[in-house]
Structure formats: structure tokens, C-alpha cells
Amino acid sequence: MRRLLLATVVLAAASLPVWSQTIAITGGKVYPVSGPPITNGTVLIRDGVIVAVGANVNIPASAQRIDATGKIVTPGLINSITTIGLVEIGQVRDTNDAAAKGNNNIAAAFKPWEGLNPASQIFAPTRAEGVTTVIITPRGGLVSGQAAAIDLLNGQRSEVIRRSPVAMIAQIDDAQSAGTNSRGELIAKLRTLFDDVKFYVGHRLDYDRAATRTLSAPAADLEPLIEVVYGRMPIVIDADRVDEIDAALALAREYKLKLIISGGAESWLAADRLAAAHVPVLTGAMNNIPDSFARLNQRQETAAMLRRAGVQVVLVGNTDGDENRFNARNIKYEAGNAVAYGMNYDDALRAITLTPAELFGLSDRVGSLQAGRDANVVVWSGDPFEFSTRAEHVFIHGREFKEPSRQDLLIERYKPKASR
């Protein structure tokens, strides 16, 4: 028993890496995101946690100081749709763990983080560019599975997982992947599933005795959906065409879902309805190509227009350069482009920090610079959205990460000798 207890304690300690160190980041322009920017601000970190943020912070003599004069300090960025740690190399089957087989295209029981590879080569280069937390999302089917939030630190799986699950992932824009032949059939299938979840809740004992009608999913998939149909766990539904978005809104009303729209190519056409229903949208700012009949009115101003209508917006990658994995680091450029296409700067920064933290239940820990939050902090050489800017210091849980990525090592090996 004692050994068992000891093991538990060790595990608990391991799951929350704490760095016993006091660090003061001074002189920079601090964007807490939860409040207005502070010029010549200080962020004080102790034991992995932010203990003070402001213009007048007492700095202990023992603190390690980082001079951020002329630099910008922000919360670590959050990329909200990724398969980092789930897919290492797209076309290498053995490194693909983002999609479940499921039952009849329903994989609500799927917890992709249980197969997460925390040694992924993508952690380091993503982190080095200021992304400290990502949402890992399952792929495929009608209900893809559950998403989790992970921190991009070096450690075991239990250490990197920040919160799981954070949402259920589903879609309403691809009938074939749902195992159906039309959008109407897809929507009916979702409705049947939600009805069955509610039925299951009231008939668990009958179900166990095999005394119920046939349900559209086994108990393992119905169980995690209970939180969804009672509005306690968000469900992210991929929807592009404006009527798909309206269909998702109707389902959300009918079943009291805590709905988040992702994709949202034509969401600007439903901006008022989304705002009225308080439904947030995960969307990008770099795609204006009518690349499918469901995305005819995709545009780069969508994020800006949604914000103006009062919709909560999270920026995610939406081009074809592997923005959900190898180039998840580019989320800051999505924000920069959003600004170029009309989004307010502070909104764009919020859309890759605090807003996703709020949507996925992380905002008490990350997404802003406030006393009591985990010290996921980035010091930038300049405007974080600009190509010319570098993330000079990246902290996760108060620990600064400087390990070279595999890409850094390749560059060191091959670059001209004069620049070595």
C-alpha cells in the first residue's frame, strides 16, 4: 500500500512539472490579453506560475531577470485545431493516430491523446515559434472523437496533457465521411444519435440487460456524448456552407448543445445568428478561394466580420500548408493576415490566446498573463504577427525551452561555414 501511495505521489508530481525559480521579465510591452497592454511592464514568474503582472511590480533580488526592453510579451499562443503528436508524417501510416475506426462512422469514445506521441519532432519547432498549447483533435467520420489540450513541453504523455477532454469533434459538411449519402441524412443521423444518448441515460439498466431497442451507437460511444447533450462539454461541428451552419445552430437549439462551429467558410453570412446564439467560430483568414461548392463564399475578412457582429472568434489555419501540424507554428501569421483583412489587432491576438482558452475550459490556467495563471509566456523581438519577429524566450510552466529542433540541427549541419 505504501509503495502504491508513493507511486501515486510521484505520478502527481510528474503530471505538473514545476520549476522552482523566480523569473522577472522586465521592460517590455506586455499584452496580458485579459486587459490593456502595459508599456514597460513586468511579468514575474515563480515556481512555474505568474505571480504578478504590471507596471509596478516588486522584483525579488534573487529573481533571474530577462530584459525585454523594446520587446513584446504575450501569453503563449494556442493553436486550436492540430494533430501534433498524433500525426508525425502525413503519408507514413505508422505515424498516423488521429482517426478512429469507430462504429458506423461514430467514434465518440475515441480519446486520441491516449496514443499521443510526446516525443514528436513537431513539438520543438512549434514551441520555438511561440506556440505553447495546442488542441489535438481527432479526424474523420461523423463524430470523430474527443479533443484535448496539450502543452508543447518535453515530457511524458501525462505531463503534456493539460486537459482532456475539452470538446467532442463532429461534422455536418461531408455526408460521405459520415457514412450517409446526403446532408439531410447526415443531420438525421446526428439527431438520432443525440436522441439515443438521451434515451440511454434513462435506460442504462435496460441497456445492460439488452432490453432496449437498438441504439445507434454502443454504450462506449454514448457515454461521452452525455456531457455533450446536456451542454456540459462543447461540441465542435465542422460546417462551411451557410445552411450547414444554420442546421448546426438548429441542432444546438434543439438539443441545448454547447456548439462551436469550425471551418465556417460562409459563417460571415450567418454572423447575426451566430452572435444571437452565442456560438463561437474557429476559422481562418487566409482563404478566399471557392474551393468547393460548400465554400463558395469563403473570404479573408470572415474573422473581422464575425467579430464586428459580436461573435467569439478563434483563428485557426485554413490553407493547405499543413497548418494543423508541421506548420501549426504559423498561427501567428493567420492572425497577421486577419489584421490585414480588417480584424482589430487585439481581437486577433485574443483569437489565438484567451478566446480559445475560454472555449476549451483552460482560461483559469492559460491564455492570458495574470497572477495565478500558469507561466506560459513568450518574449518576442517585435510584433508577434510579423515575419521579422522572433520568439526569443518561450516559457511553459515557467520553464524556458531552448532545445534545438531537428530542423535547427539540420541547418547547423548544412549551412555555409561562414555563418556557423
Binding site: 508524417i89 503519408q91 513537431i122 478561394i289 463558395l296 493547405d320 499543413d322 493576415n337 490585414a340 522572433r390
Partner: protein
Amino acid sequence: MRSLYRISLVACLVLAFSIQQMPLAQQSKDSGQAKPEASPSPSTPPGPGGISTPNADPFPSTYQTFPRRTTLIRNATILTAAGPTLQNGSVLLRDGKIAAVGTNVNAPADAVVIDGTGKYVTPGIIDVHSHIGDYPAPGVDANSDGNEATNPVTANVWAEHSVWPQDPQFPRALAGGVTTMQILPGSANLIGGRSVVVKVVPARTVQGMKFPGAKYGLKMACGENPKRVYQQRGPSTRMGNVAGYRAAWIQAEAYRRRWDTWNATHKGDPPTRDLGLETLAEVLRGNILVHNHCYRADEMAQMIDIAKEFGYKIRAFHHTVEGYKVAELLKANNIGAAEWADWGGFKMEANDSVKANLAITDAMGARAMIHSDSALGAQRLNQEVAKAMYAGRAAGINVTEDQAIKWLTINPAWALGLDDKIGSIEVGKNADVVLWSGNPFSVYSRAEKVWIDGAMMFDRADKTEKWRTDFELGLVKEDN
């Protein structure tokens, strides 16, 4: 743009009629096709379809310049791609050409004068790797025409025969400052077919977009794609790939000799034409430029040896994710390296992608250039170059903006064999020019105006003249 579009329709109709009456030789001349270099021209005019003639031009360009006005852009920062940045510079566009560049250019009386204060001017961007038109938007099977994946060697196909001029991706590339692009067949095949170089202009036909005088390219592909696509019938390995290229070149060499002999003597019946071998023979004669998709360093070295074995030149490797590993080899063989800024990890041969690739390739003396392979990437090649430039600086390589602008313009112009016409802001060059709202290497800058041959083809401020493809009418909202 709508009015311009109408004019181009008329131009196409008129040209279509007149061309039918012209003899073939005349057609070639008028479309500006490059002069044959290595082959004698037959003394008697060939009959239609009866002769394997170097530089025959059966689908001649009908492009005509759009209405234009003498234009002076002044007080701008000009990245010329031909020298140091000009501060407070002016550029004069007249009769489709760049007529003057400098800090002291007087406005002719008839000139439209545009104040470029706080803005930047660059040459039109050139994308050497596009599939726009062949893989149009929306991406539906009915229009998916980029890969003739029915045989590992399809040198007989021509990308232009798949190009849909109503692809909405064309106007969007133009809005990103792209004025010239090479549309290539896909990479399913060892030898995918001929490319086509187009100007990014509205037209009803691909002929109306074709860049007069541009040489054809030949698409070849290394590595994973061909062996994956053909794993059942072969090639299924890299060694199978190489055997496939060599077998094709052996046939092509024999074909070239047969035809060169017949062209010289005109004795007896001509050999039977073979479209695929005809294209490959043109590569061997040096009249078609090879564009070789090749990710891995070791495979590039092998492709260089194959080219030497058969006596052809590789003009540029594309998707050279590992270009930085063999830059000195590319330099020694005068081969361009067309690269992405940061794409990687999507397959094994893309796993060693580094953001400093372009900078290292360039610093080692090879001719580096950006490319998109993506209609979305094409809209922001300036941003891609910005990423690559700053990644180079982060690695300790001092890439200047004057150097980085070449990755977008003059270096891809060279890869297309068009560096005497486009790719830099120099007097006498085609007036393909972009006016940017700010530094093009900033995330916040956008192309404001784009000129092709001196005609303003895009003006962000003028929604009424916006180029909207037929496809978009009534489907895509106007304010988009």
C-alpha cells in the same frame, strides 16, 4: 476589369479567324515562338499533323495586351531585382515596357501619375509551379485535370489542354501580385508532360493567356509519388523510377535522330509522329526546359547524372526540400532550385524541410526561387519569401531584401527562360509591375495595383473593374 474582359473577347474572336488563314510558319512567328536552335527548317511547308518539327506551335498564343496608359509611379521604394533598392524611386510604364527607372523621372504629359509615397514597387511575381486551371476551384472530379495518371510516362500530354481559363484561382493569384505562372502537369508520373507559361489575365481560351515566345517546360517527378501511384504495375521503387526515365530517354534519343535525319534530307516518307517522343526529342534538342520535381538531395544528384547520360539539361528542380544539402551541386550544374518556404512533414521525402532552405541554397551560390504548388500559396508568395528570408537571417545568413526579391521574380524568370523579358524593373523589360501598400515582406502589406505589359489588370481600390470569372457570376457574392 469587366470592360477589359470584353475587349479580350473581341481580340480572341478576331485572332481566331485570322489564324486559320495563316501558314504554320507565319503562326509561329506571330506568336513569338522562340527560333529553332538546333534544327534546320524544312524547305517545303509541312502539311498539317504530318511532321515532327522542332518548335512547331500548333496551339499558338492569341494573347494581346490589354488597354493601357502611360503610367508613372513615383516616390516609391522600388525593389528592382536588378540592383540596390531605390528609395523615392520612380518607374515609368510606356507602351507595355518599362521606359524609365530612377530617382528623377519626369512625367510625360499623357502619363497617369501615381503617388507611391510609403509604398513599394516590385516586378510582377512569377510562380514557376502552379496547377491553377488544371486543378481548378471548386475542386470537383469533373474538372480535376492535372494528372494523367494512366501511365508512368505521359510526355505526350500538354498541361494547356487541361487549363480552364474560368478558374477563380486566376484572379486571386493576380491579386497577390502574380503576373506570370507556369502551369505544370501533376507529379504522379515519372514524366508528366508539357507545361505552359501563361500571363495571369482574363481570357476565354488558354491560348489567350499563353505567354508569347515562352518555351515549353517538361514536368518530371522523382521519388515517392510515381512509385506510390504505380506500385501495382510499376515502377514501385526508386530504382524502378530511374529505369523508367532512362528507358524513355533511350527511345527519345532514337526518335530524335530519325527525325533530325529526315528533316535534313526529306528523303522518303517521314517517320511516324509520336507525341510523347516528340516532346522528349525537343528536350534533347534544348528547346524544352526540364522542370523536375525532386525532394531529396541524393535523388537530385541521380537526376543530374541521368541528364548527363542523355545529354539534356535540367533547368530547375522543384520542391527541393533538401536543396540546402546539395546547393553546390545545383550551382555547379547551373540548375535552379524552386522551393517552398516551410512546407514539410507531409511525406517521408519532405521530412527534412527547414525554413532556411532558400537562404542556404542561395548563399551557396545556387539560383534559388520560391514556388507555390498551391493556389493559396500563390496569393502570398511575398509572405513565403519573407518567412524564408528571416529564417535565413535567424540562421546567421544575411539575406537582404534585394536578394530575397530575386527569389520571387528574376530567378523564376530565368527558370522559364524569360529573364530577358520579365522579372526585374529595368528599362526595356515588360511592364509587369506590382504596387504594394507597404513593404512586401510585412504580413500587413497587400498588392494594391498590378500591371501586366503596362496595363493595370488589378486595382484593389476599384471593385467595379474587378475580374470575376464566369464561374463566379451568380454563385460567389460580389463583395467577396
